[in-house]
């Protein structure tokens, strides 16, 4: 195997966190196998990104093309296919982002190369690359090997690979790339940012966060009450938004907000990784859930295994009592 290629992703003048994460992993894998680590970045005004990437990559390939400014699957598929054909890397590594999910499956079919997505671990074993995936919603792990292939495609789970400071000083190589024709059957129309109306959960010191364990929209009342006595704000996991119980601006997690409150109180949240990714930065986490084996308990500092609807009213009373005593 010759090289590992990491394709970096950026939007809104920022390189995605997950790109740094897989870049770090790529660096480690390359070092272990004494391979070259390549990074690719495309778009307009990308020199700053490229420079950034040289801290990890031995070589950074840049493609200046305004059609690649936005992370859109179709143009990038063409670019990456081109790069693979040209460079023939042994491994192509990307973050498992929404962008990648739209892109890599088609790419693997187009090139006839193996793909494993959303890996939580990537490692060498007897000279072969192996990956581990988290399956059954985090309740089991599975490791995979690859059939013989010149190139394999891997995406890595957001938040799984710690960013290690890059020590390299790679060099930048610009490649010319032009599109033969425009993609007219799938037209990008723009972005829609969720409006931050009213409550900004990223600014709250205390978040009382609810999951589907609260069962019913009406039960938000008592949760609001708890948030009130704690001087905090109510946030939630994805199902609560899916059910329409709270607006999406209150959602914590991969497709919602990333938060770092002083206290994160998870009520009836099982703790799927998509959620945990958004709240790992909390200074103190308390989880209340009926299911003793819920993954949230391995993230939390304190846990209560019980029905939230039973504990929360009692908690409101106790806190009010304690507050009453101090005031």
């Amino acid at each position: 195997m010759s090289s590992i290629l990491v394709v970096a992703e950026h939007r809104n003048q920022t390189l995605a966190d997950v790109s740094y994460q897989v870049l770090s992993k790529g660096r480690q894998l390359a070092d272990q196998a004494q391979m070259e680590l390549l990074a690719a970045v495309a778009g307009v005004d990308i020199d700053a990104y490229a420079k950034e990437l040289t801290r990890w990559a031995d070589r950074v390939i840049i493609v200046n093309n305004d059609q690649l400014e936005e992370p859109l699957a179709e143009p990038y598929q063409k670019l990456i296919a081109h790069l693979i054909r040209e460079i023939r890397p042994g491994i192509v590594l990307m973050g498992h982002s929404s962008f990648a999910m739209d892109l890599v499956p088609s790419l693997s079919v187009e090139l006839g190369i193996p793909l494993v997505t959303d890996c939580v671990d990537i490692f060498w074993q007897n000279g072969d690359i192996l990956v581990t995936r988290s399956i059954y919603n985090g309740k089991a792990n599975a490791s995979y090997s690859f059939a013989q292939s010149e190139t394999i495609l891997i995406t890595g789970r957001v938040g799984e690979f710690p960013v290690e400071e890059g020590q390299r000083q790679g060099w930048i190589e610009e490649i010319e790339f032009a599109f033969e024709e425009e993609c007219d059957y799938k037209k990008f129309e723009g972005y829609l940012e969720v409006e931050a109306a009213g409550v900004d959960i990223t600014q709250a010191e205390v978040l009382v966060s609810v999951g589907r364990g609260i069962k019913e929209k009406k039960n938000l009342e008592i949760v609001e009450e708890l948030a009130r006595v704690l001087g905090g704000v109510v946030s939630c996991s994805r199902p609560v938004v899916d059910y329409g119980w709270l607006p999406s601006e209150r959602q914590v997690g991969l497709s919602g907000k990333t938060v770092q409150p002083k206290l994160y109180l998870g009520l009836g949240i099982s703790g799927a990784f998509q959620h945990v990714v958004g709240m790992k930065g909390a200074r103190m986490t308390v989880a209340i859930n009926k299911d003793a084996k819920a993954p949230i308990f391995s993230v939390a500092n304190y846990g209560i295994v019980d029905d939230v609807l039973k504990v929360v009213p009692a908690l409101v009373n106790k806190i009010s009592e304690l507050k009453g005593r101090t005031e």
Partner: protein, 393 residues
């Protein structure tokens, strides 16, 4: 939909909305319809729901989440049927259930009801907890599997899965053991009785549950059944015969009353408390068994029995019927029926509120906490009181 699909098209317009359906044992207030007591808008009264259902059937109003919530807030407590002075009163609940059935068939039901029913489809219980855990309540009790004993002890979903329900299920088991009753349980092979499924309007699922249960019971040669929950009792006594499942079904209070009367159960250990009793709808209004639980309490030395202002067929529902112990459409307010009920229990000066239904137990116990009455009132299932009186730890 038009009236033609609705089985009660020639009846539903007959409600005048005079409001007798809201009365308790007398006319002391208009809050004995649990949903009306909770929301106090006419829409939530029995008459309101009937008029709305009719308006929906006639196309005067559209289906909405709110409409579904209003209909599903009916706890099937039967107060309306018992109080309505008009001759179609026997159909009131059937009309409500039929309206829910329409919603079920269209798939448009409150999300919690959807979850409830899907959980039962999948795991045989409303909580969605694995079937494999149904027997966890009986760990270490030495209760045997059913294999031709005199009684099948049917525990039900709340007794099998709810922490508090499990305690009563265990205690009742121990009481029966102590009385030397020959009985066995189904453990993990027990399935939901379907009573609430029927009340939620999921008729076919109910039929399947009833058919399966009847076949299972018959296959095991079951003749007598004693149930922990009045809900199971109701389904098995009144509905299963329609599926060729005729069994001798007893609610456990009926069996315990008999055991105490004939000396089979010694309760001389006594229970020192001032006790009031909350009639569960499916034992009381649905099956008119008001006496057995009272007789048990009166037979226990030390029990000072007092009645609440609303009792027997005028009892206020705990708000947990019609699946609402899970759907909880009536929770979240001091007007919630369970909270009203525990305040009423407190007014009698009793320090123990006795119940005979695991649903009522959990509903009322939560209400005691919500009301902050823990120091004044304890909720106990009669099985627990009897357990104490016959000195079971």
């Amino acid at each position: 939909m038009t009236l033609t699909n609705f089985r009660y098209g020639d009846v539903i317009h007959r409600c005048f909305r005079c409001g007798y359906c809201k009365f308790p044992i007398n006319w002391m207030d208009v809050n004995n319809c649990p949903a009306y007591a909770r929301f106090r808008m006419e829409t939530y009264s029995c008459g309101g729901r009937l008029w709305l259902t009719r308006a929906w059937l006639e196309g005067e109003i559209e289906w909405s989440d709110h409409l579904a919530d209003i209909l599903y807030s009916c706890t099937a407590c039967k107060n309306c049927e018992v109080k309505c002075p008009l001759s179609f009163n026997i159909d009131i609940l059937n009309m409500m259930i039929a309206a829910k059935s329409e919603m079920v068939e269209r798939g448009e039901i409150p999300s919690a009801a959807k979850e409830f029913l899907e959980n039962i489809q999948r795991q045989g219980n409303p909580y969605g907890t694995s079937r494999e855990k149904r027997d966890e309540w009986m760990e270490g009790t030495g209760i045997e599997a059913y294999q031709g004993q005199e009684y099948l002890y049917y525990v039900g979903c709340v007794g099998s899965y709810d922490t508090r329900g499990q305690e009563t299920a265990r205690l009742l088991g121990k009481v029966l053991q102590k009385a030397g009753v020959s009985f066995g349980v189904l453990g993990n092979d027990e399935n939901c009785d379907g009573n609430e499924v029927r009340n939620l309007g999921e008729e076919t699922l109910f039929e399947m549950l009833a058919e399966d249960n009847v076949a299972q019971f018959q296959g095991l040669g079951v003749q007598k059944i004693v149930t922990l929950s009045p809900h199971s009792y109701n389904a098995m006594k009144n509905d299963y015969p329609g599926f060729n499942g005729v069994f001798d079904v007893l609610h456990y209070t009926q069996l315990l009353q008999e055991l105490i009367r004939n000396g089979g159960l010694d309760v001389s250990g006594g229970y020192n408390a001032k006790v009031t009793y909350h009639d569960p709808c499916f034992l009381g209004r649905w099956n008119e068994e008001y006496d057995a639980p009272r007789a048990i309490l009166r037979a226990i030395p030390g029990v000072q029995f007092v009645e609440m202002a609303r009792n027997r067929n005028g009892a206020l529902c705990c708000g947990g019927g019609g699946g609402n112990f899970y759907l909880d459409l009536l929770g979240g307010s001091e007007d919630s029926p369970a909270r009203r009920r525990v305040r009423e229990a407190c007014e009698t000066g009793a320090n123990v509120l006795a119940v005979a239904c695991p649903n009522c137990l959990t509903m009322l116990e939560d209400a005691v906490k919500a009301e902050g009455l823990e120091n004044k009132l304890t909720v106990r299932d009669i099985s627990e009181i009897v357990g104490e009186a016959c000195v079971i730890k």
